[in-house]
């Protein structure tokens, strides 16, 4: 038996809990619990391609601005969130950085770049 999966629709405040019914081969045979057509569409897409934008920070070594906020340029597979996070602890950045600058290209082969979401002009002096 294929395991049943429940997906919560985020289309509206209703938050339908949609149960995905699968046949023996694991194909989607039906959906139960979606109140509307858009919800069904969302759930099917979420099943096929569950992607998220990852936002995080990377260390700068600058005491006055220890972390630079970053995001992935595209949504990436949910399963790749953790491996990309591990990368954020390793990456070395140098100032100056402008919001939108690429920090890591094609990070963890997700197809997405890690890009800065804020400016980091660099330390203007000690303290």
């Amino acid at each position: 038996m294929a395991p049943k999966e429940t997906i919560i629709c985020i289309g509206c405040p209703l938050g339908c809990r949609v149960t995905v019914i699968q046949d023996k081969k694991g194909n989607v045979a039906g959906l139960k619990g979606a109140e509307c057509k858009q919800g069904q569409k969302y759930v099917l897409e979420e099943l096929k391609n569950p992607v998220r934008t990852l936002t995080a920070t990377v260390p700068t070594g600058d005491e006055g601005f220890p972390l630079l906020p970053v995001r992935t340029s595209l949504s990436i597979l949910k399963t790749l969130l953790k491996p990309v996070m591990v990368e954020t602890a390793r990456v070395k950045v140098k100032p100056p950085v402008k919001a939108g600058d690429v920090i890591l290209k094609n990070v963890k082969r997700t197809g997405a770049d890690l890009i800065a979401t804020a400016d980091w002009p660099g330390s203007t002096g000690e303290g």
């Binding site: 919560i8 509307c36 934008t53 936002t55 906020p69 919001a99 804020a118």
Partner: protein, 417 residues
């Protein structure tokens, strides 16, 4: 202040920035933002997650990106700022007293004031969690500042009390940063934040959301060693015999936000006990002439986009007030919350111009119809207290209705929550 300030904006968060920009665009010469923190943006710099600007810019932005767009605009318009400056007094004649390390002690009277102080989190003390008083109990927002800005983590294993948006977003952040979040505990039968956050912050990471539950005890001498979680009954009282303990070294409290109105009180601004914010008219003018308010200081919004829009209205009106020394009354009609409506903002409207009403329902429900008098009714597939309901009323329709005195807003439901 050497020269006259036309509009002084207190707070440089999304509300303050938007109000200052709007005031300049409306023609105010000198617009000054006073901010207690070290940088502009309020809480936006620490909100590194996305989900901002979907309505305002029709773009999915992070907090720092949203902030940057407003700061750039404010700077290009010549908005002036004073950072690390605390307004310690505001009087009923708009007199501002502020202090800072750099500029010392300042007193001045601007042409108009916009209150944009935002809101604060309810603390452990305010929530009244029993138990010992060790290190490792902090609000979700303070934790967010430590983790995303200061570069420190308050613990490795967490329980989050309250499923407000910040609590859920922090549950995800901490998990992504390698910590373990044991559970998010919510006293109500429904989550306190947006569905989107419930799914993408909790569900995605397998973090349990314990509804109708609360933390009934904090354990630990020097550091938190764990918490006891209990189910609650219909009166939200812990049910004996349902205790379950969760070992953890940190308890995050995300149990609601309170508009920050200490200064408003000093100025004698009338406050609404339900929203916790000032009573405002359509122009976002408070009960004190020339003092306007916008954003979370008025009502706690779920989306920053609405904070910006609301503050813009306040900023524009403040600029007009600073110019003319008064404003045409925009308070002819009182807006009253009716069935299943907790509050409506603004509290009064002109009854002539277009207006947007913000409101929250008391009880969640399905197939809801929100009615503003006989003027407009709008249907919602579902409503929840955690998601703000917004109604746009047309000036034409209002005039046609010829409102006398008040407008009651009701929410009818055909299905339970």
């Amino acid at each position: 202040m050497a020269s006259r300030v036309d509009v002084a904006v207190i707070g440089a968060g999304p509300a303050g920035l938007a109000a200052a920009i709007a005031a300049r665009e409306q023609g105010a010469e000198k617009v000054l933002i006073i901010e207690r923190a070290e940088q502009l943006g309020g809480l936006l710099p620490q909100c590194i997650h996305n989900g901002f600007g979907l309505l305002y810019f029709e773009q999915d932005m992070t907090g720092p990106e949203y902030e940057k767009a407003f700061i750039a605009k404010a700077m290009s318009l010549g908005v002036e700022t004073r950072l690390e400056t605390m307004v310690i007094d505001l009087d009923a004649e708009r007199g501002i007293t502020a202090v800072s390390r750099k500029h010392g002690y300042m007193r001045f009277k601007p042409g108009a004031v916009v209150l944009a102080m935002g809101c604060r989190e309810r603390s452990r003390g305010a929530v009244g969690i029993p138990g010992t008083r060790p290190a490792g109990v902090l609000t979700a927002g303070t934790c967010q500042r430590f983790v995303n800005i200061e570069g420190y983590m308050p613990g490795t294993r967490y329980v989050v009390l309250g499923s407000g948006d910040i609590g859920m977003i922090m549950a995800r952040r901490l998990t992504l940063e390698g910590a373990k979040v044991e559970a998010v505990v919510e006293i109500m039968p429904w989550p306190g934040g947006l569905i989107r956050n419930e799914v993408q912050c909790l569900h995605d990471f397998g973090i349990p959301l314990l509804l109708e539950s609360t933390v009934t005890f904090i354990h630990g001498e020097e550091r938190v060693e764990g918490v006891t979680v209990c189910r609650v009954d219909a009166e939200r009282r812990p049910v004996e015999g349902t205790e379950k303990s969760y070992p953890c070294d940190c308890l995050l409290v995300s149990a609601g936000l309170i508009p920050e109105n200490e200064l408003s009180r000093k100025a004698g601004v009338e406050l609404d006990p339900v929203t916790g914010g000032p009573v405002v008219d359509q122009n976002r003018q408070t009960s004190v002439p020339g003092v306007f308010a916008g954003g979370n200081v008025v009502q706690v919004h779920d989306l920053v986009d609405w904070v910006s829009w609301e503050a813009e209205a306040a900023g524009r009106a403040a600029a007009r007030f600073a110019d003319k020394g008064e404003l045409k009354a925009a308070a002819g009609v009182r807006v009253m919350p009716g069935d299943n409506i907790k509050y409506v903002v603004p509290h009064t409207i002109s009854g002539r111009e277009d207006v947007t009403l913000h409101m929250r329902v008391t009880q969640p429900g399905l197939k809801a119809t929100v009615k503003a008098g006989g003027i407009l009714s709008k249907r919602f597939r579902s409503v929840r207290p955690s998601e703000m309901v917004v109604l746009d009323l047309k000036g034409e329709a209002l005039k046609e209705a010829g409102l006398k005195g008040e407008l009651v807003v009701d929410c009818e439901m055909r299905g339970g929550g």
